[in-house]
Structure formats: C-alpha cells, structure tokens
Amino acid sequence: MRIYALQRLVLSFFLALGAALIVFFSLHLAPGDAVLAALGDAGMMTREQVQVKRHELGLDRSLLVQCGDWLAHLARGDLGVSFVNGRPIARDLAATFPRSIELVVAALLIGVLLGIPAGVYSTTHQDRWLDYLLTALSLAAVSVPSFVSGMLVLLLFGLTLRWLPVSGYISFADDPGQHLQLLILPATTLGLIMAATVTRMTRTAMLEVRRSDFVRTARAKGLPERLVLFYHTLKNALLPVVTLTGVEVGSLLGGTVIIEYVFTWPGMSTLLITAAQRRDYPVVQGVVLVTAFFFVLVSLMVDLLNASLDPRIRDGSQ
C-alpha cells in the first residue's frame, strides 16, 4: 500500500509539472503579441513604448530562459504578476480560489446527499415509474446547460420571489448569514447537476453489484433484503461512486466557472475570464496551473482512498 501511495505521489508531481509546462509553452508560443494585447486598452501606444514594455516584462528573452525563470519562481510559490496591472497573481488567487473551492464543496455535498439516496431509490424501484422519473430528471439536469438553469434559478428565486439576495458578496467573516444566503443559489444549481450524475452513477454501480456473486450468496443465505441492500450492495457500490465522484470534481471546477459568472460569485472564474479577454497570459497561466495542481491532488486523494477501501488493491494484488 505504501509503495502504491508513493508511486502515485511521484506520478502526481510529474503530472502537475507536465501541466505547468504545457500551459507555459502554449501561452508563450501563442500567435499575436502579448504585450500589445495586454496593454492595448488605450490603443494609443507608440511603437517604442511597446518595445520598452516588452523588455520590462522580460518577453524579449529566449523562451527557455523565460521558462526556467518561471519554474524557479514557481518553486518559491511566486506565480508572477499580471501583465495588465502588475498585481501578484498568487495573492489574487489566494483570495479568489478558496471562494471557488467553497462552491465546489457545497455543490459536492448537495450532490452526494441528494444523489446517493436517489440512486438507491432508483435501484429498489427499478423499471417502475419512480425509476423512470428519476432517470428522466437526472437526464434533464445534465442536459440543460448550467448557465440556463442558473439564470432560471436566479430569475425565480432571486428576482421574482425575492427569497434570496442576488448580488453584493460578503465574506463569511463579515456576515455569515448573508454569506450563506448568497451561497445557496449557485451551490444548489451546481449541486443539482452533480446530484444527477451521482444518481446515475450510484444506480449503475448498485445494479452492477446487486447482480454479483456475493450478493446472490447473501440473499441465498436468507439475509433480510434491507441488510443486503444497505450493507452489502451499497457499501461496495460506494467504491466506484467515490472514484467517479473524485473524477467529477474536475467537472465541478469547470462548472463553477460558468456558475460564478452567472451569479457573480467572485471566485477565480472572474480572474480567469477577465484575463482571457485581456490576453493577460500570466494570470491565465496561474489559474490553470493552480486548478490543475488542485485537481491532481484530489485525484491522488481519491486514488489513495480507493486503494484503502478496495481490499484488492490494499492487499497488494492491484
């Protein structure tokens, strides 16, 4: 098990490094002029001003030199500064990234708390109308684009019914009540989509496990159906669900980008989208990098969790 953990750790590190390098090179090999794009909001620059700025940003050095420099900074936790306003990226990310994670965690909780019971119900009522209904709802939930459902939710609960506030972010420290109220709508929108996926995963996994040998054995032994269901089936079905959920965190992180945009939740999506619109490469780089690192970390943890839960891996037979 320990060897496995170590292997995964090393692999994850290289994975993260690989992501960093791919991001760096793709951004620096981009067509178009980074300097002109990032500074051009006045459109009044002289050619010599652009040259000077390019030199100041270090963009006239060779690519390898820039890369080495960037990696060296990265090792120290310095993600560089924005082209547009010179703000340290690490600082802005430290402020915005936790807000996105908060959304992700909230959505995950909602997704799991709703999805797993729904999946179980779907299994017990397989092929009956409840199953069809839940399946249909799940399908609808993952099909409707998140920005559409987000807009509808915002319109309904925020603007028409006025049950919840729609703007004016307050941090948890400043006003927990208001903060949580602001969190509900975006988290629920994302969470429902997550729930739909979890429901289907749970259902599939449970059906799979239910047909397996050891469940048949348990039934044959005459154990009560309830016990069979919850203890044997669910416990084993949870394993793949956990794994797949860990993988879905990546989708959630992507989903937060759109949701944050719709609900004006000041997470990293604002940072990213504004930077992409302005061609502020270092910021785009930084956000993608940190997200990739985070995702690799989550995958690692899920793998380790999986390994510790799955007797086959734990006992060494991978």
Binding site: I22, L139, F147, A276, Q277
Partner: protein
Amino acid sequence: MAQRLEKIPGGAPTQAMPEDATALARRGRWRSRRVLGGGGTLLFFLLAAILAPVLAPHDPLLPDPAHALAGPSAAYLLGNDEFGRDVLTRLMYGARISLLVSTASIALGVAIGIGAGLVAGYYGALPDLLVMRCADVILAIPPVLLAIAVVAILGPGVLNLILTIAVIYAPRFTRVAYASTRAVRGREYVAAALALGASDRRILARTILPAIIAPLLVQAALALGAAMLLESGLSFIGLGIQAPTPSWGLMVSSARELMAQDPLLVIWPSTVLAVAVLAFNVLGDGVRDLLDPRH
C-alpha cells in the same frame, strides 16, 4: 459533464440475472426507444440545420431595426431579437453552427485519439509513455478552464473552437483506443499474423481497428452532448462563437441582458439547447447500451 466509461473497479464479473422476464423485455424496449428518440430528435435538428438556407424564412444576419424586439407574429413566428432579426431563422442557423462545432470537434478528437492510442498501445515503451502522460496532463485540467485558456491563446471563433474542443476530448478517446489496442495486441492471432510476416500497418488496420470502433463510438456519442455544452458555455461568456454569427449560447447571452424588456427571447435558444443536448445524451446512453457488452 461527460460521462466517463471506465471499468468500474470493485465489481465482480457479472452475469445477467434478471429477476423477471418482463422487466428484461421492458428494458430492451426502453433502450431501443432511447436510440430512436434521441436519434430522431437529432435528425430533426440536423435537417433543420442542413436545410436552413432553403427553409429559413428570413436572413439571419441582416438587421431590421423596425422590428427590433417585436413579439411573435405571422411573419416572425418566434419574434425578433434586438436587431429585428428573425429568431426562428437564427435558431436554425444556430443549429448549423452548434452541430458543426460539436460533431466536427468530436470527430477530430476521435481521429486524434485513434492515432495516438493505437500508436501508444501497439508500440509500447517510449510512445506509450509520451502519449499517455500527455493525455493524463490534459485530463488533469478541467475542460472549461482548458478551453478558456486555449481561447486566450488562439482567440475565439469557429475553427479555433473546434480545435480546442477536439484537443480537450482527444485524451478520453486515446485512453479507450489504448486500452483496446493493448487488449487485442496480446491475442494469439496477432502473434500468428506477425509470425507470418504481416506488416504492422496491416495488423493495425485489419485486426485492431475494428475492435476499438465500438467502445470509441460509445465514448464519442457520450461526448457529443458535453461538446455542445462546452461550446454553448464558452459562447455564453463571450469566449466562443463571436457575434453576429448565430450560436445558441450566444443568443442566450444577448437575450439575458434584455430579459427585462423581452423575457421570451431567452426561452427559445435555452429550450432548443436543452433539447439538443438531451437528445445527444439519450442517444449516447442508447448507443452505449446497445454496443457495450456488459449491459
């Protein structure tokens, strides 16, 4: 969110153990209904898209300020947008763009995936390492974020979008192709063919390729809906299809700003989008059920 078809660990190999013959029959009917339903809807969209230049009542791009934000009428069945353009026409032309981007990008992704996965799975060693690690790295970055980053590099637009989405989904196909290639490669008849002097290419084309088509098709069908969601999401935040080219996501975005004045405007593209993605997902599920030996 794409559904992933990984081998579900922890499940013992199964035998189909239906509790009830009727249930099995019902399931079978449901499956074919899904393919029919999903496929049928998509066919409808496809026809609308292809025949748009012929069937569409008006010009999708020409503004007509006299009719700006008008409601549904005889000439303009679904009303007009802020430029006075016919919503129905733009929806039909939007179908062209949205379908084009989704299918082209996935097709391209599959092509890349087959190429990369075959090479990695067949030759092993260095190609394996390079290709699969690259795939892992791309998979480590959430699709939407990666798409935004690539758009920051390449700029928005139809071609760039197709390329972007293809690159994002290619690793999934690579993995499937890789796994199947590895599985087939070890078989006896391959060894026999090699012993008889068959070239690599022949083996790849004759034996391996046919084996991986089915799982790839399943993955592709499942990915189509995700591709459409990705394209519409990007267009919505302004980093995808650029105005005035009609795209459903873009139409939702402009309609959103005008919700106070014309709430109907946002409903049409939203509905059409949801139905299209739904159809893709249903079709994908259906294809998976048909082709996947496990179900």
